[in-house]
Amino acid sequence: MITFKIGGVHPHDNKIAKTAAIDPLAPPAKVAISMAQHLGAPATPVVAKGDKVLVGQVIGEPAGFISGFVHSSVSGTVAAVEPRADIAGNMVPHVVIDVEGDEWDPAIDRSETIVRDITASREDILARIKAAGIVGMGGATFPTHVKLNPPEGKKAEFLIINGAECEPYVTADDRLMREKPDGIVIGAAIMAKVLGGCKCYICIEENKPEAIKAVQGACSPFPDIKVLTLKKKYPQGGEKQLIDAVTGRQVPSGALPIDTGCVVQNVATAFAVYEAIQKNKPLFERAMTVTGQCLDNPRNFMVRLGTPLSYVLEAAGGAPESAAKFISGGPMMGKAIANIDATTQKGSSCLLLLTEEQTRRKSEGNCIRCGKCTDACPMGLEPWLLNKLSRAGGRMDELEENKIFDCIECGCCLYTCPANIPLLDVIRVNKAEVMKIIRGRAKK
């Protein structure tokens, strides 16, 4: 069994929703679809109030190279195109649609038949991935077609399909691998074809034995695709950590995975690619976990994008009294939500409810210089030192010397600190400052 070499922590995985199958969640009465569901420029809305839309119809077009298409997830009438607060709290344009029935674009193949033959050409596949609005569904939401089209002179040797799902609680990828292994494997094969024949590994952590078995079974018609079992360790699913675990290579500081010959894609992205190419279905719904010990029935849903989180939560039994924190994503890197009426996006893998007891931060003590943060940091940084230099005020040159810009914000340091020092909070703020200085210097 393999894993990454530097750092890492072992939080309890709490995969309490793993026995719940993915239930399709009926569309709500009204959806609000964000135009900023991907990294890069928000899409430009191409519908106006009063327009009738079908499920799968384009409602937003890319506004730049790093941008993406957005499709309607429901059928109905556009009620408004207006700025609204998204999950992160940013005001971005949303297309609000009053749902009427559930009428799909007739071009979408809704049958359950598995289509294994990959007939489309490389260029055709790339164009259709772009047109389907597919972005990295592990959370980073980087446009997939850009990642699959390496710049001139760079060649992918490894396609790594990320099924690590190292975040505690989240089970959406686990369930997807158990229920749709064929789609994922075919999606991986399609991406391998685009990249021009490379080794393809589907990487799954050891705590998902059923998923490993299912995907291994689905791999049998594809001799070039292998399943790798990973040790359970956070942040295994981090792109850089996964590349290290699988290939033993490390992405140089400031470089991209493709510079080490690797392309990493999430399993949900692989499934979306399968549906787009073989089923002609754009990305407008995704698997999502609703979980937390305070819920009686943690669930996994297939959720239409733009569904209010409050609606998803209602479907899982509603928020209990004891829930104090609502998190979009996992407990290590997810975002705490201020507005539960914000709507789901392409990167929303989980809605996690934690009680005050589970999430309360204890008061900060003195650093006892135990070095646990240094041992935990998967980038080999010294969080205690970055914290000290940051708080000493203005020591940006020393922060840069100590590689603060390499921080991937995984949270291992803060998670592990016995003195409850808010290491990552401090580092995050000062990392942004240092990056600003570096960018400013590059411009000169």
Binding site: T359, R361, C370, M379, G380
Partner: protein, 332 residues
Amino acid sequence: MSKTIVSPAPHIHSEFSTVRLMRDVLIALAPAVLVSLYFYGWNALLLLVCCVATCMACQWFIEKFLLKTTVTVMDLSCVVTGVLLALNLPPAAPWWIAVVGSIVAIGIAKMTFGGLGQNIFNPALVGRVFLLISFPVAMTTWTAPHSWFSSVDAFSGATPLALINEGLKSGSTVQEILAANPGLTPGQMLFARAGGSAGEASAIALLLGFVYLLCRKVIKPHIPVTIWLTVAVMTGIFSLCNPAEYTGPLFNLFTGGLMLGSIFMATDYVTSPMTDKGMIIFGVGIGVLTVLIRYFGSYPEGVSFAILIMNLAVPLLNKYCKPIRYGYGRRK
């Protein structure tokens, strides 16, 4: 949604806390404490109580009345200092020695530097060395281990290292000294028969604590293991070259404060390096200094001095021994 918390990630925290780590150190010290109580009886208990009580009281007083800040006595770090100091005292020492040592340890070595996490030197060792220099007679009057809380007067006995030191000065060879003192076989010392500080009675009890600390992930093995290896290799070479004058590896590993010092004092978080590389250099330094002091110094015992000297090097080791960074190695 009446009252929700919004804060940056991560939203959960590990089970580690300062109190838990300190509690684990105390649990790891328990076997050594019990052995010292078993062999040295009521006086060892008195010293232990005096040390712990004075350390706690001293920290409480300074934080409450001098610094007027939050009282952090309950984080147990001062209790650990107290227990370690007690284990470093001769078991027959008078009670006021424990009180003075504790005041120096907490009041001077720890709190003047800014309290927990800020001190340069290991507080318990500063306390011990202060006492050793100030009250050399009381601090080098040893008692041989005796029976369970017996009322029989303890007879005095020199520590193995002192025996060797004295013997060599009077012109005997190591072999003659060992032959004259049948209690000095490594086996005897492993299971507690040698005289010495209260906590040095049994190497086995200390090693039990070491295993516990490793299992609970409180410490990493780097520092103790490099100290042992360095001492073993260095004394091995010396004793092979001149067995009449230099004691061998087994003798040196299991005598004096080496086990107690390497497992519990050298691994003190605050005063030891943070990276593996730093820890290894730190351990080698302690090992070399210990052997040099034992062989060539005027004190028979050198672990305390070796650790204190290496404590000084820690800020430098932290500055220059960086962890292995991700993404800066050679590209394959």
